[in-house]
Subunit: 461 residues, 2 copies
């Protein structure tokens, strides 16, 4: 039986204790983005409890990163295991001195869920890092092919790269899409195109971005128009690959653009992208940092596409509780050791948590559950869209599990009002309300979300 608790908010949000803790924190740690301060010991399952004792149904889930609920029993067991104690206390430089447990940890954990066709892994610590590692792998592959298999590095290459000049530091581009979010490092941020707050004042690489399809809803009504829009975008992708003033070595795309506003495209669009990357022999990177690990009703978002050949690289983070990338082609392993390397290469402690998350997802068949619950939830949102057509617009995510969103007039006001009614929900893009329940969200929790939402929409009319 799912644990269904009462939402209960007795103070303003944030409450006085949250405010006091934030104020104290702000003296030494930027606290301006704090929603509220959390009592994680009192939080459980789908419910988060703040220090003022308010309990919220959490359908934001730490920016879509909590997979199987607060204080999950299986995760607690993993956290207490001797394997975990050792990983925490004896943090290894995984590339040089891996633990005897490392091979089994990978095969019993992350590799169980490796996307079809991708049987190799590189571990990392964040989605941003995972994407940059994927970019570097793509760049080294491109130059390896260009140089010729087995060719040695020239003295000029070796010397010039130290000065950040050509030919050692070449101009090579990663193509991304308008409104994408791929992270905040200098490389990943150069591919992020969502918001100025992420990018302003930070130097970027001169890399191209193609339009991401802007679909009209409901999809059935605008099928022709949407198809044309996707074709237009694909054409532009190919134009950019062919005409950019230096080589484009990879394309990176999210199955659903998340931070950018929950923007979707059809399987045909992604198949078209796969065809283009194959045609031009460049790497297709699928950024599953937010879509991976089940919330779309498939373990990986890209499984919805039925591609004719798998993507070259799939990156992950968030619900995995660790990060990294999967790949299939051994040519993506650089020609020499130590080129793709760093001190820690991820964190085995977090990889252990990932193994526990994966065990929980597979054993409890949470991906199927997400698909099933998502259908019911979508139907409920449809009713609200009919009831409040000016406040619930462009409902999207049908058939994508619980990964649902709609546009509204004032997303900030809606989310604030929902918090006051005990539902923690997030926004994205400019005017989008996004739902990111955990994988343990069930039919029984739907009323706790829909009833307050109905009230809030009614009050905002």
């Amino acid at each position: 039986m799912p644990a269904v608790l009462e939402n209960s908010v007795a103070t303003e949000v944030p409450g006085p204790l949250s405010k006091a803790a934030s104020k104290r924190l702000d003296a030494f740690f930027d606290a301006r983005a704090i929603h509220f301060v959390v009592d994680y010991d009192k939080s459980s399952g789908n419910y988060i409890v703040d220090v003022d004792g308010n309990r919220y149904l959490d359908v934001y889930s730490q920016i879509a990163s909590i997979p199987v609920g607060y204080n999950n029993a299986t995760l607690i067991e993993a956290a207490k295991s001797p394997e975990m104690i050792s990983a925490l206390v004896n943090r290894p430089a995984v590339g040089n001195f891996p633990s005897s447990r490392w091979p089994d940890l990978l095969t019993d954990g992350l590799l169980r869920v490796a996307p079809k066709g991708l049987d190799k892994i590189f571990t990392a610590q964040s989605g941003s890092e995972a994407n940059e590692l994927a970019y570097k792998a793509s760049m080294m592959l491109y130059r390896r092919r260009e140089r010729g298999e087995g060719a040695e590095w020239t003295d000029e290459e070796v010397a010039s790269c130290i000065s950040n000049t050509k030919p050692g530091s070449p101009d090579l581009a990663i193509l991304s899409f308008t409104d994408s979010f791929h992270g905040r490092g200098f490389g990943s941020l150069s591919t992020t195109r969502s918001k100025a707050v992420h990018k302003l004042d930070i130097p970027s690489f001169d890399w191209p971005h193609a339009p991401f399809p802007k679909l009209r809803y409901p999809l059935e009504k605008y099928a022709e128009e949407n198809k044309a829009e996707e074709q237009r975008c694909l054409l532009e992708v190919e134009n950019l690959i062919k005409s950019w003033h230096f080589p484009v070595v990879a394309v990176i795309v999210e199955p659903i653009q998340s931070e950018g506003g929950d923007n979707h495209a059809s399987p045909e669009f992604f198949q078209g992208l796969r065809d283009l990357t194959k045609k031009h022999n460049i790497v297709m990177i699928v950024d599953e940092v937010q879509t991976g690990f089940g919330a779309t009703g498939k373990f990986w978002g890209h499984e919805h596409w039925n591609l004719t050949s798998p993507p070259d690289i799939v990156t992950f983070s968030k619900k995995a509780q660790t990060a990294g990338y999967f790949f299939g082609d051994r040519m993506l392993v650089p020609d020499k050791a130590y080129r793709q390397f760093n001190t820690w290469i991820g964190d085995p402690a977090r990889v252990i948590m990932s193994k526990a998350v994966i065990g929980e997802i597979l054993e409890k068949d949470l991906v199927s559950q997400c698909a099933r619950v998502g259908k019911v939830l979508y139907a409920e949102f449809e009713k609200l869209a009919s009831k409040y057509p000016t406040l619930v617009m462009n409902l999207r995510g049908k058939g994508q599990g619980t990964y649902l969103a709609f546009d509204t007039v004032d997303a900030g006001a809606l989310v604030k009002a929902m918090k006051a009614r005990g539902v923690n929900v997030g926004t994205c893009g400019v005017q989008t309300v996004r739902f990111r329940p955990m994988l343990i969200f069930e039919e029984a929790h739907i009323p706790t979300l829909i009833e307050p939402l109905d009230q809030v929409l009614s009050s905002l009319q």
Copy 2:
């Protein structure tokens, strides 16, 4: 009493079981850089034990990242604490929903060792990430001053940054030094200048690098010459700041260049750098990823300099077991929330380990111990330098705790021979043997290092 164990190596290194595990691993995880596979359960204190049962005195310490020994009892206690279980199981988006424990965790941990004058912190997951966050903070500060306090972003800035073009994505540079290592992200790698294997084929920003002093040893003998060399380098720093074709907003420097070959400079050099950064109103970032946390005989490497004003930013990782940066000036907090931000903003689980490490270092006064033991160890190396003048050259690190190094003819051969005798030691630069004992390395362990080294040097003569 320090635990002194016998080194014992009964197989070739790596042994057959290490080789078998590496081979298995290599099918799905790049195993080419593995030295040996480790049985961390059998490792303890200063000793690492591989899966073949070989026990080594470890003076490489996971690339200088193990602070207080394998299976340290205080760390085990922290790893088993309810606070840790919660941090592992309920991983928060620290910027939005911090735990009620977060303020105390910082004040009782990392902030206890904040460098003098720096009372604020931003947490991260790697040294590379910490440095990039510092670069971004410096860039935002520069533009904030240029724009004028309180000035709003222009529409042109907002629109252009999304396309990676000016004025939103400006040309702003970070100045680093020849042979520096600051990480492998696209921004941090643009400041790394050590080796082609780190940089080749990866696009870089057009940023300047100044020569780092090349001191001659013994320092006393070449005092005049070294002083002139440092002046030359400082002049070049100022030339680059003044003449670079776009603004230099920060200088980043390591107290001891580590990956680049254990290169030192005098306190006067660093004071000169502080003066220049003050004069030109740019940020001084001290990269203490490898020097921080006590090994130089001071908690922070830059404490050796007695600067007239503290550095603006100090980054850390490695022995901290987590990462981030300290700073003092509140203007380094960006003008708006969410500009310096990411999903996790570090990992509270690793911050808890950091707190335990700090407790252990302070309670056992391990920094003083390092200073004391380092003197004895240096004297032993001096004897070897006299005995083998062609094999132990440019001995350096006097007065820098156990952070010692020397040049030799074939560093790879020396290190291999040392492994065969049960000492795990590392290299850096081109021909340098570097010593990175843990902070719990004591006088009693010195013979276990020096005797095999004497034998190896004798055999290499």
